[in-house]
Amino acid sequence: MNLELPGIAVAFADAARQAIQAAGGVQVARRAQADPALRAAVAGPLLDRLGVDDLDPRGGLDAAAAAAQLCRVAGGFAFPYPVAARLAAPPGSGWRFVAAVDTGGTWVDHADLPGPWLVVDTVGAVGRAEPLAARRDRTLAPFATRVTVNPVDVSLGAVDRALVTTFDAFTVLGAAEQAHALAVDHVRTREQFGGPLAGLQGVQFRVADCAVAVWGLQRLAHFTLWRLFTAPQDAVVDALALRVSALETASLVLSNSHLLHGAVGFCDEHDLTTLDRSVQASLRLPTDLERTSELLFQAIDAGGFHGLFDPREGAAVAAPSSSGSGLTGYPATNEGGPRQRAVAVPEGNGGAPTYPQRDNG
């Protein structure tokens, strides 16, 4: 048992945090909402300089943890770029971004940015997403874009699909942590009724409930990442469980942070507003809480849910398996683990373990 994050992940997160802060922090998001071209001009190159293209989260837990921490940092700044989708794209595959959509889904955050975009739906069907129309200004999820999805002859394995969901959950975690930190700072310093708001028991209880939720999500996020590498057969169900927790936590923390801030928290110049508006894309796309819960119980029905009393033979007391056993029951075509590069291979290439190439047709 070792609950510490790998040192490389901590260092990578520190470097990312410093780089985004140097670029303006949350101000980058505000500027990008006024000038969406800044995403490609500023945000993308910042990630390039951090070396994200050299980071292969399928290469091992350390690299995956570093990638997840980058998503978490980005979420805390409402960083205006599809960081999770970029990191979920298998290096060398030709796909720039990999995102999740609901079955028949037509929205992808930031899909107006040049791709190519590979999208995977809730049953594992993949396609190439193309932006349908010019992006329109809107208050919530300012970069969510309507897309059309055309099937492509590739498939994604369970672990690849789980990585998309897991990285997105880390982004939500970062946003929830920052919204909570803003609320804590506010109630410690804002004085009403002759003292800091933090002196009021009702405020304390709200802060405590949010802290417990955030701490719990932190632990679950790390656990899920570890399970991707030790029990890849459960990758999809574990990632859905993490998404459920992330959506619940974000909802609790954002609503309480707004309440504790009062009207100032809704002002465009306040970071809380920017965080809330931006994270709505991750909270609604590809699925909201109820729909994610539905997907979760379907996945549990199909393959079980790991725990102390997992009814699957041996799972209750044995150490997690290091190899996939196809137990999730999902119709994905490849249940291999991260180290096996789980993107499935199109027919007719001799079975070589290569990534599907960009669909140029």
Partner: protein, 384 residues
């Protein structure tokens, strides 16, 4: 980063499940039922564990323990709670009274008490709550007045679990002046057969032995029955409660029942549609509660005992416990009311028993809002 509890813990879990299967009767719902045989089952089971040196896994060898890892101790807590705590009342002595005596006791107190706790031969009760000092424990009024021969106890405790069957009481009393709050509390180790102690059971929906009143009428306590320094009892209590807050692995019984009921009803299709999402989320919340408890264990193992973390783990566990019990009851429907010894379905009796227990989860070991206050204090610090 590695969440595996290790091969020793996995082996221990298998051994404990084998013991449970072999030695607990079908339908066992714990020591404290209307059937007095259940109490005897737990006394035998505790001695069986002690014979295998499994009661005091994490205790140091010098105190009769096996010096096992905290993770093996965690497995023991999980397996025992999941199976209706077949150690009966023993868990209290093992999990926090014993450790408190190790930490604060004299060598004589350690020699007297620890081997008997380790052998499963002695039942303890905890004399903390009073009629006017529940969550506000620092308001306790039971007094211990010093004289040449030691101390004289007078006052009343209430809600004292196991007092009727306990051999000893881990008792908090006021040794300072009235109103001295935390600065005037001391802890005593008091034999329950001492003259002047009267126990009156309180009937409750939790079953027998859970709630009692204990009256102390000029009870003589010797000098060597004071634990730690005079007036320094709050340190002992605080540390004891920190152990208690993570001591009960409530998530383990929730996990057992959530998985068992789901299997019995044939998966989510056997649930009403509106309940399916809630049931799935209960499984997730239970996983989170387990991970938060592991975090506290890891912190304690590293010598860092953080009250905010322990309280957070406790909140997640008890809230998750009540959520799980609610969805389980709704999964079974009105048939859950047909429980008790003659229930058609043992699982229904399990769930009914679990639901009743979970009602008290947000009170035991510090009410939920006290825990929220501790978390808030950790987060907000001096501005609070």
């Amino acid at each position: 980063m590695d969440f595996d509890l290790g091969p020793e813990a996995a082996r221990l879990r298998r051994s404990l499940r084998d013991l449970v299967e072999e030695h607990l009767p079908p339908g066992f719902l714990g020591a404290f039922t209307d059937d007095p045989d259940d109490l005897q089952v737990t006394q035998r089971f505790a001695k069986l564990l002690a014979a295998g040196n499994l009661l005091t896994l994490a205790w140091p060898r010098e105190f009769g323990g096996r010096a096992s890892s905290v993770w093996e101790q965690t497995v023991l807590r999980e397996e025992m709670w999941a199976h209706h705590e077949p150690r009966g009342a023993q868990y209290m002595g093992l999990n926090w009274i014993g450790p408190a005596i190790m930490r604060f006791g004299t060598p004589e107190q350690q020699r007297l008490h620890l081997p008997r706790i380790a052998a499963g031969e002695v039942i303890w009760c905890q004399g903390f709550s009073e009629p006017e000092a529940g969550s506000d424990l620092a308001a306790l009024r039971t007094t211990a007045s010093q004289d040449d021969e030691g101390w004289v106890l007078s006052g009343q405790k209430v809600w004292t679990s196991y007092a009727q069957i306990a051999d000893w009481c881990f008792l908090a009393a006021r040794t300072g002046p009235p109103g001295s709050r935390r600065d005037g509390v001391s802890v005593f180790l008091v034999p329950m057969d001492r003259d002047g102690i009267e126990v009156r059971p309180i009937a409750s929906m939790l079953g027998p032995h859970h709630l009692n009143e204990v009256f102390f009428d000029s009870v003589r306590v010797h000098h060597d029955e004071l634990l730690g320094d005079e007036h320094a009892g709050w340190d002992v209590i605080r540390e004891s409660l920190a152990f208690e807050r993570v001591g009960i692995a409530r998530y383990a019984r929730a996990d057992f029942l959530l998985q068992s009921v789901l299997q019995r009803i044939g998966g989510f299709s056997g649930l009403p549609v509106p309940l399916r999402g809630r049931y799935a989320r209960a499984l997730v919340h239970n996983r989170v509660a387990r991970l938060l408890a592991y975090d506290v264990v890891a912190e304690q193992d590293a010598g860092r005992s953080l009250p905010g973390d322990a309280a957070a783990a406790r909140i997640a566990a008890v809230v998750g416990d009540q959520e799980a019990s609610d969805v389980l009851v709704e999964a079974i429907g009105p048939a859950v009311l047909d429980s008790g010894p003659e229930a058609d379905e043992q699982l229904h009796a399990d769930v009914e028993d679990y639901w009743r227990y979970s009602r008290a989860a947000t009170i035991a070991a510090g009410a939920l809002d006290i825990q929220r206050g501790l978390v808030a204090k950790a987060v907000l610090g001096s501005a609070r």
